[in-house]
């Protein structure tokens, strides 16, 4: 029963994402996030010199990462529902941007365009 419920929840999530993508509902929220990205402070734990186990960008230059974020938010369209008021996008930058060879960037942002986090994604 638990597996069946999990499958239904997953299907509903996928359907919700597909409907919102198809209707273009998410794009305006992403555009708001683009405006915020140029001043966003990337969390130190995702920077090259950061502590901890979280995935890290291969640079400490915040402007470089901000430019990657803007590129991803402008050109990406594979948005997913992250929570009731937030979305995420994973975008392949076409080059290595992470310390473990990651080529993709993940950005999570709210419907108000506030950026929750960004980090290199496998």
């Amino acid at each position: 029963v638990f597996n069946a419920i999990s499958s239904i929840v997953l299907a509903v999530d996928k359907l919700a994402t597909w409907i919102q993508q198809t209707l273009g509902i998410i794009r305006p929220f992403a555009n708001r996030a683009i405006d915020v990205a140029s001043n966003y402070t990337i969390k130190s734990c995702h920077m090259l010199s950061g502590r901890g186990t979280k995935s890290k960008f291969n640079t400490n230059d915040m402007n470089t990462i901000r430019n990657w974020m803007i590129t991803a938010l402008k050109n990406g369209n594979n948005f997913k529902v992250n929570s009731k008021d937030s979305y995420s996008i994973v975008y392949n930058m076409g080059k290595i941007i992470g310390t473990e060879g990651q080529r993709c960037i993940k950005i999570v942002f709210t419907i108000a365009g506030k950026i929750i986090t960004t980090y290199p994604h496998k």
């Binding site: 969390k43 734990c45 950061g50 901890g52 186990t53 979280k54 993940k106 108000a112 506030k114 994604h121």
Partner: protein
Amino acid sequence: LIFFKFKLTDRRKEFHNEKYSYVYEYDGDFSIFIGKELFFDEPGMPILEFFRDVNKWRKIWDKSKNMFYNCVETEDNPLISFININNDWVIHSPWQKFKCNVTFTRKEIENALIILENNVNEQLAKFDSVV
């Protein structure tokens, strides 16, 4: 035997009073000790996000259900799990420092979480008063 520790380091005011994303307002260093051994240690953890998942687990009517904490900062989810094995509970994380063979009662984990919650609330109150 199990002990959670949190040290507040950052506040992100833009998430203050947000309906859902308020859980990203406070970040800090989060550690879990099993006895005296460091089991989990990570900076930049959104502690209210952890409490969101933990409190769902604490309030659920079926007390045999596992707890899965999914963190927005990583793909390695669930990041922290409390797993029920015949009413003994084990803790697991993909980032754990060692494989923990110690089992706990649900009460032990809940008590440790209450201590953490009280400590976090004290830190937030102090932080709010100076920032």
